[in-house]
Structure formats: structure tokens, C-alpha cells
Symmetry: C2
Subunit: 200 residues, 2 copies
Amino acid sequence: MQYYPESVRSLIKNFGKLPGIGEKTAERLAIHVLKRPSSEAEQLANSLVTVKQKVRLCSQCFALSDCKLCHICRNSNRDSGLLCVVEQPADMISIEKSGAFNGLYHVLGGALSPVDGVGPEDIRLRELFAKVLQAGIKELVLATGTNVEGESTAAYIAKELSGCKARITRIATGVPVGGDLKYVDKMTLKSAMSSRYDIK
Amino acid sequence: MQYYPESVRSLIKNFGKLPGIGEKTAERLAIHVLKRPSSEAEQLANSLVTVKQKVRLCSQCFALSDCKLCHICRNSNRDSGLLCVVEQPADMISIEKSGAFNGLYHVLGGALSPVDGVGPEDIRLRELFAKVLQAGIKELVLATGTNVEGESTAAYIAKELSGCKARITRIATGVPVGGDLKYVDKMTLKSAMSSRYDIK
């Protein structure tokens, strides 16, 4: 590091703060930036600043958005009677990529975790309950994680909304598609076995 | 990609232009930037812009520098009678890291390569010859690469300077230290064998 000019050292240090970028990689990235035209470095610099200025949470579903309402909440072709509950914006993007869902989302911003001090007031449950009671939601799909926190969050939501008219469903657990049984952990296999269904 | 807001997409695209950063990693880096405070994104953005504005080539050795003269050429403790010729600034930094050299450098900016149309006029040979003839250089260490281009560049320099008083040396080739003989390529072994020396 001390062999580089001060400005290069600073760039290496800042690249190194990114996840998965060690000092060697940071050095390589900095050397790359030095070799490429200024315009490329400026584009990256601008997009870094812009993203922090522009991105906020959609006022309706709390997903990442550049505007007040995200592109999914704005889209009138989506089924507003279907609401999918996820923990994080990234979960929503994974579901969107699968193309398996055409309703709207509600991003909780976390999962209940008494161990970490995350209670019902710390995630967007109040907003979710208000939404389910007010709007004409026909089905609420609970797509929180399949770990302890995600499961208990789903259970909590189902219990709190047990009196409402909407159908409440949970995404299925089981062996991943294309999965090799010998590499699947026993909890997943247990779940896949107990959720077995008739094929004839 | 289309599932992200425009500003996030732009950041992912720009991260993806860096070497070794695929779309998945670029996504992960962008999400990390979104989670961290704005100050971190700004620091990286600033260092990107600063590095392109500040870094230039040292007017004496042509290494990367923030000033007219790099920290090595400015350092009066270095032996100015020793001059090491390398192809690229990165080669110089590798030698500096080894701590095995206390002289000055001359960065050629490439190696002779008739196939790629790189002739003696295209790399900083004129500046090197002027330096060797004028200054009191006692030894010129040729540390160009050990590939065809590097070897022919070293041979060309040695031939052109055959009449000068300075000692001209070439870095040794051989088995890397800590190397396992069974993984060493045959050209390296050939070289190590022909350069064998008496140990008693």
C-alpha cells in the first residue's frame, strides 16, 4: 500500500470497504481505474452519489424505489388483491425474478427476533395489518424466510390476522428444484417428506 | 436488473464494468452501498474522481505519482547510481514490495513487440538511453518480463548500451522460492538448470 501515491492508496482503501473485496482485489480495481478513461470513473462516482440521493422506500410497499411509489405499486396490471409479505427488498427482487407472482408486495424490513431485540413494533407489521383490513386483499402470501425468525414472523402474522376474511398462505418448503437428495439437509428433507402429495 | 429502480440499475451497471465483477457481485455491491451510510459512498466516489485528476507519471522515472517527482525519485536515501528498468508501474511496485532494491527506476511503459506493432520509438527507450549516458549510473538492472517481449526488450537495451561504462545486469530466472518442482514449467526448469551454481 505505501508504495502507491496517496490518491491511489485512498481509492484502494475505499474499494476495500466493499464486501468480498480484499486488499489484492482493491489494488487490481484501482489499477484498472487508472488505466481506463476518466469518464468511466466519473460514471461510477456519479452513480454512487445518485443512488444514495435518489433511492428511498416506496411509500406503499416499502421496497426500493426512485419515486414515491415503486414500479410494482404503480403498475395497474398487477393483481392488487394478492399481497406477498417479505422480509427485505432483496427477497422481493428474488420473487420478481422468478416471475411466479403477479400481485403486490409488503416489505417488513426484518423478521421478529426476540434474541436480537426485534419485536412486532420494530418491523412494519402495523402497516401490514392496516393494509389487509382496509384494502380488498383476497390472499396474503407469507414469504418470510424459512429460518426460525421467518417462521415465527409468519406464524405471528397468521395468528394476528386469524379473524380476517383474506386467505392466508405460506410459501412451500421442500427439496430445491434440480437438487440432489444426498446434499439436502435433514430439516429440508423432513419438511419435504411431511409435505408429500399424491401424484396419481 | 429490470427489477431495480433506475439509479440502482445504473450503479450495478457501473460496478459491473470493473474487472472480475460479474452481474451478481455488482448487485451485491450495490445493495451493500444502499445499506451503508452516504458518507461511505461519497468517499469512494470522491477517491475515484480524485485519483483520475491527481495521478500522473513521475517526470523522471514515469511511475505513478501525485506530484511532479514520485516519492522514490524524491528520496535522497536511494542509490542514484543504480537504475532498474521495468515495463509497467505495477512491476515497480512488486519490486518495491520485495524490498530487494534500493536504487531508482525507469518505467518503459511496455515492451518491444513487433507482432503488436510496438517498436523502440513506442516505449521510453530514448529517455532511458539519455539518462544512462548523462547521469552517473553505475549499474542498470534490466527487470523487464521474462516472456518473449521482455527478453527481447532487455536484449535490445543491452545491445544499444554495449558501449557504455555502466554494468548491465538482468534479473535471474529459475524456480520460484517455495516452488514445488513438479508444478514448475519446463522452460523455467531449463533456465534453472542452466543457471545452476556451485554451493561448495
